[in-house]
Symmetry: D2
Subunit: 105 residues, 4 copies
């Protein structure tokens, strides 16, 4: 079965699936960075150095978001549009809302 | 010894120290949210729902940054200025650079 | 001629066209706000009050960007995808790059 | 009279005053860019090209904000702190609020 088609299975087989391991690895690294910040606070590290680390984690999360958004659009949205599915508009509206949250966060 | 004074110990006893437990609790919660996102990816959750969670974590990290920055300015910077220490300018420049990173991230 | 179809004319008749007057009005208002900030600086207004105005303009510009992006995706991208045009991928990549610039700006 | 001291005149003679012409020039340039975007919309330019221009203006406004904030902190805040003025805390709180608006906008 082809898991990348925009079929009725799109919801259970999202677009990022073929890069799932890559995303998991990136989130694991982010988890490690978050734990590093906890240690810095516990050790009473200078606040500016903590701020630098927090900015690094924020950037890494943003990159994950942009990647997931890309896959949502190129798989979920485009596939639904190509299949002339009425889902295309819903999925596009969801993407727009996610972009607005991302830009404002 | 008073750990909140802007003494020569300012670097080893940063301004957020009196709220250290609060910051640790917030970072622990963020760590839990990050692990939640890992589970969502492992479970192949719909990408838009993951994006919502990533935005929530980004917002929580931003709030931590703004809090740390506040404490840096009201303790490290102001205390150095009040003590007429030459450190005041250095600490202010560090704050400015951290703000710029924060605004651009 | 129907200006909303994703025909070969898409480039010269972009998706926002049917709301062109609305976008022009919003940009005129932003231009007025920018001139207001110039007057504040000329009048030596308190910097915090200027900062508040600059944030208001930034937010207004962001809203324009999100609107244009929406129209780009629902007209240019979706129409190209529905027409099975090879342009769909190019237009989507352009959208992704614009989103990344927007999130990072 | 020395307009840069953190005297009672600080409010009427804000910190950016000695670079007033520079800020006015930057805002004039931004005004020109905003008018350029209006022309692009009037001419029905491709939306992605407009988005690129809007991002450029947003970045230019952010740079103005960061500059004004810097001057607020190194003049208004630090001067009040050095003079042991009770204003220091108020001015710092105003700076913190402005930073939060900036980070979230």
């Amino acid at each position: 079965m082809d898991i990348t088609t925009g079929s009725a299975d799109a919801q259970t087989h999202p677009g990022y699936m073929h890069r799932k391991d890559d995303y998991l690895r990136r989130m694991k690294r982010i988890e490690g960075q978050v734990r590093g910040i906890e240690r810095m606070i516990a050790d009473e590290t200078y606040c500016i150095d903590i701020l630098t680390q927090v900015s690094a984690v924020t950037k890494a999360l943003q990159a994950v978001s942009l990647g997931l958004l890309d896959e949502h659009m190129s798989h979920c949205v485009l596939d639904a549009a190509k299949a002339d599915s009425p889902d295309a508009d819903t999925k596009l509206r969801e993407a727009s809302e996610a972009i607005a949250r991302l830009v404002r966060s």
